[in-house]
């Protein structure tokens, strides 16, 4: 099993995350992808990442981080400056492989004079799906994405959400082994988002590798198995959602003061060290952050509270959200970049 660096980890023990897949399981395996635009604008600086078959992989990053560039390189829309690795066992840029790949571009515009069925038929033919299969799959996909009621309406009469649903359907017309979705829930209502999540879960169960590019981190957290965080053209973290949100996880303890009990043993608690802190103190109830993910380690806190005759009402392992993890990684990356720029400036 290979390992992936976790550069935002603060202690040496957290530097390596056990996330590496076996080679045969990989749908996308990228090594050292670079893209430099004219004017020496570096959009990607040596990105390496893997997407397994049968998993949903989230690509996170702020605007201009290089997410779309990476996806476009995979889909041959942009030519990389350098790109190692492969997709479905073929080098990136191998056109015939794209017949096995589905793609939903960001801000896509389909021919607005076509109906949903015509869009699917056209893009199916472009993906070399034979006519009989296209005819069979078109009504299935229209039903699947909930566009059955659109009937003979042309795309120009569609709402943004309907267009997005149609975009997902066209990405599935060739029954792809790998699906690349750029902001798939952009403009979609909550019901539509749930439908899309269900479709993706079903595809994952069928062994498809799915790469999602999105800003909506709560959405990604619900559906992604693994994710990578990209900033300034570099990958700053990659791992399962649990691994990414591991840093900052800790047990929290709520304790209530019963009638007749004294003040909480705050000096004793804070004297324990190890990251113990009082998160909230209302007088009648306190919430304590234990600073540990070990049940063994927080027992002295419980003992101390009980000794003071306080009632322990809740003990919970609290994890940061993916958004918290994302903001932490981006903050660290930004600081590092600023530091590097400052050093460069000083050297100059």
């Amino acid at each position: 099993m290979s390992t992936t660096a976790n550069p935002y980890a603060e202690s040496p023990a957290e530097v390596q995350l056990p996330t590496g897949p076996r080679d045969g399981d990989l749908a996308i395996d990228l090594h050292d992808v670079h893209k430099t635009y004219r004017g020496n604008i570096k959009a990607l600086r040596g990105v390496s990442m893997q997407v397994r078959k049968g998993e949903v992989f989230g690509l996170l990053g702020p605007n201009g981080a290089g997410k779309s560039t990476l996806v476009k390189i995979l889909m041959t829309v942009i030519r990389p400056t350098a790109c190692g690795g492969n997709m479905l066992g073929h080098r990136v840029g191998h056109k015939p492989t794209l017949a096995r790949v589905g793609y939903l571009p960001e801000h896509h515009r389909f021919p607005d004079y076509l109906t949903a069925a015509q869009v699917l038929d056209f893009f199916g033919a472009m993906s070399r799906v034979d006519r009989a299969t296209r005819r069979a799959r078109t009504p299935e996909l229209i039903n699947l994405v909930g566009l059955k009621d659109a009937g003979r309406k042309t795309v120009r009469q569609y709402s943004k959400g309907m267009r997005q649903r149609l975009g997902l359907a066209q990405a599935l017309i060739n029954d792809p082994d790998v699906l690349l979705l750029d902001e798939p829930t952009d403009g979609v209502d909550p019901e539509g988002r749930r439908d899309i999540r269900n479709i993706l879960a079903d595809l994952r169960a069928r062994g498809k590798g799915i790469l999602i590019n999105s800003h909506i981190l709560a959405e990604l957290e619900m559906i992604c198995d693994r994710a990578a965080i990209i900033y300034g053209g570099e990958l700053h973290a990659q791992g399962t959602v649990n691994e990414l949100t591991h840093f900052g996880a800790q047990y929290e303890i709520d304790a209530e003061r019963p009638p007749g009990a004294g003040a909480p043993p705050l000096p004793e608690l804070t004297a324990m060290g190890g990251g113990v802190s009082v998160m909230r103190d209302t007088g009648a109830m306190i919430t304590i952050a234990t600073g540990t993910t070990s049940a063994y380690d927080f027992q002295p806190i419980v003992d101390s509270l009980r000794a003071a005759r306080w009632t322990v009402s809740r003990v919970e392992l609290a994890r940061p959200t993916l958004e918290d993890a994302f903001l932490r990684v981006i903050g660290t990356a930004r600081a590092k970049m600023a530091e590097a720029n400052a050093k460069q400036g000083a050297a100059a």
Binding site: V77, D121, D130
Partner: protein
């Protein structure tokens, strides 16, 4: 499969364009004009009336020639060659810029089809606008002329490939600028500008050819005159005529020699400019000459002669218009030279120009990051 999909999509796109239907409606209107006109032994038929217009009867020109001339002058030159082409350029100018615009192109490039094939298929599919317009117009014209005049001019169908070729010379520029700038307006303006340059070059080359022939025509006469005068001078010298008369003869001979040199210099000067214009025209697409290929194909020698006689008759009556008799001779000679130019020169060199422009556009498309 992919090629058919793109072609079928192009057809659907045309159906969705109002300009396509407007252009088709005007085509049918022009065909209705053909339906209203005819010629008989008394004069010109206008709907169900006969109007006597001078010698314009079947005695002067056959029904077949009348309809061919009508189709050439109104159908091909005015409608298909001008108005319909402008409508087509306006209507198709947005096809490539829309195709390469952000949001559209990603979905097309992310398919198992090479960029070169994708672009070329899209380019040729864009010509469908003109193919369909010309096809409907020619078929309707043949039908109407056949039913109305009893003459079935199947050769008019040649206008379909000819007009498509003519349009493609201009559309390739629109495609190049479209893929380069992604701007519909720039594409349209560029194709119109190139058309303007081509027309100007055609007019300049033809004008210089006429001027060259006009200047060349008197040379044999002057040469003959000089020879005659040389003989006269020699004779006068042998006969030892009056020195004053001899000098006068010599002076006239000298003047004619100077005339000859000046005329030859004039021809050489025009010839230099003509060669430049001819070279430029050879490089550029030959829109006018391409359209004239239809005339060459459907009007036979006898009819051509009939038309030439009619033209000289009318010039005779009208005093030759802006041209004198010698100029008219030069115009006819130039016309003959133009018509004798090879198919390779007319179409082959134009297609070379188009191939170069399309290859350039293709290169930009194949190398660009979208």
């Amino acid at each position: 499969m992919q090629t058919w999909a793109i072609l079928f999509d192009a057809y659907r796109e045309l159906n969705a364009r109002k300009m396509f239907w407007i252009s088709l409606a005007i085509s049918l209107l022009v065909v209705c004009v053909f339906a209203g006109l005819g010629i008989n032994e008394k004069g010109i038929e206008l709907l169900w009336f006969t109007v006597e217009i001078g010698p314009l009867t079947t005695a002067l020109m056959s029904r077949s020639l009348f309809y061919k001339t009508l189709f050439m002058s109104v159908g091909l030159t005015i409608w298909l060659g001008w108005a319909s082409t402008i409508l087509a350029l306006v209507s198709t100018a947005s096809i490539i810029p829309d195709f390469v615009s952000s949001g559209s192109i990603e979905g097309m490039l992310a398919r198992p089809i090479s960029r070169t094939r994708l672009f070329l298929t899209k380019y040729f599919a864009s010509l469908l606008f003109v193919v369909l317009q010309a096809l409907v117009f020619c078929a309707a014209s043949i039908l109407v002329i056949g039913v109305r005049g009893g003459v079935w001019l199947w050769g008019l169908m040649l206008a379909v490939p000819i007009i498509t070729l003519f349009f493609s010379y201009l559309y390739c520029v629109s495609a190049l600028v479209g893929v380069w700038t992604r701007s519909t307006l720039a594409s349209l303006l560029a194709s119109l500008a190139v058309w303007g340059v081509v027309l100007a070059m055609g007019i300049a080359e033809n004008g210089l050819l006429i001027a060259k022939i006009s200047a060349e025509n008197p040379i044999p006469l002057i040469e003959k005159d000089v020879e005659a005068r040389e003989l006269q001078v020699r004779k006068a010298k042998e006969e030892s005529t009056d020195p004053a008369a001899f000098m006068k003869l010599e002076k006239r001979l000298e003047d004619r020699r100077v005339d000859l040199i000046e005329q030859r210099e004039k021809v050489a000067s025009i010839d230099t400019w003509y060669r430049i214009a001819f070279t430029a025209k050879t490089i550029l697409p030959k829109t006018g000459d391409t359209k004239e290929l239809l005339e060459r194909a459907i009007i036979n020698d006898r009819e051509m002669e009939q038309m030439a006689n009619m033209a000289s008759d009318s010039n005779g009556r009208g005093g030759g218009g802006p041209f004198g008799a010698s100029d008219m001779k030069a115009v006819r000679q130039a016309d003959k030279i133009n018509k004798s130019r090879s198919l390779w020169w007319v179409i082959g060199t134009s297609l070379l120009f188009e191939a170069f422009i399309v290859a350039w556009a293709c290169r930009i498309f194949a190398r660009r990051d979208f």
